[in-house]
């Protein structure tokens, strides 16, 4: 489109639920592309970038975060109603995020450990993905998302095509970039074979096993990988913790992790520090 013909740009709104803002900041991290993006779409609501607000409805809503309060439950319905396409961004929105660890324990366990006056909190007992509440048109995974995947989804929307977003394993990205496999060479346990690609195998490329932040890959056979790692000297509790991080509530991870440890409460409570307050 040429610069002097005014064309109605699609509107894009960014909404936050229970999250850390890291995923929506990925949009700002697209520094070299940002100006071109704002020429292609109208940023209608994005509080990390501007106070300006355009009333809905919106062509595209990017939704970050999980649903953890009564207010969230009402607001996500509103966002859905106002949006032609609703795209969730990040692990929190896709599977409930790290805060979904609360789903595994007695309600109130964590607030009692963390807050001096938990009775002031008004939160649900669970952290649930956006898709548990409304129809989601597309999910971008990751903690945080990969900014190039975000750009790809925006570009795909602009040209009415299917986004090029892989659903296979992280291993395929390791192989494409020539990273020597950490698991096979004995460097580290790695969730890559059961985790969805999208990060360009970032952690393995710097010598850290994949933490599974993009959640399960298509048809992930988590049980088989865990069995192999157990027989290679990794403790059950370590393996369960590996699965119970960013996507703890993703069914493929959750099921295997809970089978690995008999006492779920001890497992998730251990790594937390009890805050001493008076």
């Amino acid at each position: 489109m040429s610069a002097d013909t005014p064309v109605a740009r699609p509107t894009l709104a960014v909404w936050k639920f229970a999250s850390c803002d890291g995923c929506q900041l990925s949009l700002l991290d697209l520094e070299p592309e940002l100006l071109a993006i704002t020429r292609a779409v109208q940023i209608a609501h994005f509080t990390e970038m501007t106070r300006a607000h355009v009333e809905g409805p919106y062509d595209v809503s990017l939704v970050e975060g999980s649903i953890t309060t009564e207010a969230d439950v009402a607001r996500i319905l509103e966002v859905r109603e106002q949006s032609r396409y609703l795209i969730t961004i990040g692990a929190c929105a896709a599977t409930g995020g790290v805060q979904a660890l609360r789903n595994f324990v007695e309600p109130g366990t964590y607030p009692a450990m963390v807050y001096a006056h938990p009775e002031y909190l008004r939160a649900l007992d669970t952290s649930t993905p956006v898709s548990a509440h409304v129809v989601v048109d597309y999910e971008l995974r990751g903690c945080p998302i990969d900014r190039f995947q975000l750009l790809e989804v925006i570009l795909a929307l602009l040209s009415h095509r299917r986004p090029i977003v892989a659903t296979h394993s992280v291993c395929q990205e390791c192989k494409a970039r020539g990273t020597v496999c950490l698991a096979v060479s004995g460097e580290s346990a790695c969730l890559g074979p059961v985790t969805r690609a999208g990060c360009n195998a970032l952690c393995p490329s710097v010598g850290r096993g994949c933490f599974g932040c993009f959640g399960p890959s298509e048809g992930a056979n988590v049980g088989s990988l865990m069995q192999w790692l157990r027989s290679h000297g990794h403790a059950d509790v370590t393996l369960a913790r590996l699965l119970q991080t960013f996507n703890a509530a993703a069914p493929a991870f959750r099921e295997v992790a809970t089978n690995l440890v008999a006492t779920k409460v001890t497992l998730v409570a251990q790594p937390l520090m009890r805050k001493e307050r008076s």
Partner: protein
């Protein structure tokens, strides 16, 4: 001297050869140690080669160790191989500029420097021969592949130290090499010293040897080579009985073993991407913020669900169907398609499978119980 001649090179002469190749305009690459493995990398001299480095491999396991010997090639293939040099993981083929009412196609040029590989293993050279059938001899020539291959110089080093995962002897693709090289080296170390028997396989190799000091090889050097190869064969612990295997696999598509291996298989695709003959790719059109279209070709794997996506869904939706596709293609239908094996016995898929699934063991299990089926519906290829 002519093609077919054999000479002896000392380690210093090998160094001269590397310099000479680079003077001839080649980008010289070979085996180097990186991140705890022997991988392909740039060679500026003999000093970059894995001197005294040895490997231990098994299903799902790979380790290297440093010894105090000065052998340069006492190891078997690592994870990377030479396939990516000729068939890169990601390639951009052309760009289309979309203007007012017209589309302009711009080819994205591919102008790599000619490549010289010093230190490919016999199975890797055999694998390039298999890839040639796919990309050069088939109905659809891949012009980029053709150009890269035709310009490349390949010096192969025969194997003295197969890993526990190697089974090239079963596939007739190693530990020796007789055809398909520019230069074939055998590392020798006996009473006559540390040296290489070098067999000249092309006119290009004659040019590369100009200015390199060498002596003609004698019968002593050839019997030293025989001893090295015999030792290598003796040490090879993994085997695959290929006699009749293609047919056995083709008539056992409903064998219960496929379901058993699927319980372990992660469908991660590592086996296909480390395999030096797997050639599958995805071709997609991406768009950018200027509205341009870029046609991209990237590696793909039959272990990805998308790979068999046709209108309405995937043809191979289960891990069982995908593992079966992989193994029957490598060892059976490859013959129908390309009149050659799809497996050269390099053992990479065995070593680099994160749960140690062993192709040779899986194939043997099906052979052992040939005809054992839990058939609920007739196999599509039951006539075979």
């Amino acid at each position: 001297m002519s093609v077919g001649a054999s000479v002896v090179l000392r380690v210093d002469d090998l160094a001269t050869l590397i310099t000479r190749l680079s003077e001839l305009g080649y980008e010289v690459k070979g085996p180097v140690v990186r991140a705890g493995a022997i991988v392909s990398g740039a060679l500026s001299g003999v000093g970059d080669l894995p001197k005294g480095v040895h490997d231990e491999q098994g299903p799902g396991e790979y380790r290297i160790a440093h010894g105090d010997d000065d052998h340069l090639f006492d190891w078997a293939v690592g994870p990377s191989g030479w396939k990516p040099e000729f068939f890169p993981p990601h390639d951009e083929l052309w760009r289309a500029r979309v203007g007012d009412g017209h589309v302009e196609l711009v080819e994205i040029p591919d102008e790599p420097r000619p490549l010289a590989v010093v230190g490919a293993r016999p199975c890797e050279a055999a694998a390039l021969g298999v890839l040639d059938r796919v990309f050069i001899d088939g109905a659809h020539r891949d012009t980029r592949y053709v150009e890269r291959r035709e310009n490349a110089f390949v010096a192969v080093v025969e194997c003295s130290s197969p890993a526990a995962t190697c089974f090239c002897d079963s596939m007739s693709s190693g530990p020796n090499i007789e055809v398909g090289f520019d230069l074939a080296l055998t590392e020798l170390d006996d009473d006559d010293g540390h040296r290489f028997l070098a067999r000249v396989g092309s006119v290009r190799a004659l040019a590369a040897l100009e200015g390199v000091a060498f002596v003609l090889a004698s019968a002593v050097d050839f019997s030293a080579r025989d001893a090295v190869l015999e030792g290598a064969r003796r040490r090879m612990v993994r085997h695959l009985d290929v006699d009749g295997l293609a047919g056995v696999l083709a008539r056992n598509l409903e064998h219960p073993r496929w379901a058993e291996v699927a319980e372990r298989c992660l469908s991660c695709g590592n086996c296909t991407l480390v395999c030096p003959t797997c050639f599958c790719s995805d071709v997609r059109d991406a768009t950018d913020l200027d509205g341009d279209v870029v046609r991209q070709r990237t590696w793909s794997s039959c272990f990805s669900v998308d790979h068999s996506y046709l209108h309405g869904g995937a043809v191979r939706p289960t891990t069982q169907s995908r593992y079966r596709q992989w193994m029957t293609h490598k060892l059976s239908s490859w013959w129908d398609q390309f009149d050659t094996t799809g497996c050269v016995g390099c053992g990479r898929c065995v070593a680099w499978c994160p749960v140690g699934i062993d192709l040779t063991e899986e194939a043997a299990a099906i052979v052992r119980f040939d005809g054992v089926t839990s058939v609920t519906r007739p196999s599509v290829r039951s006539h075979l």
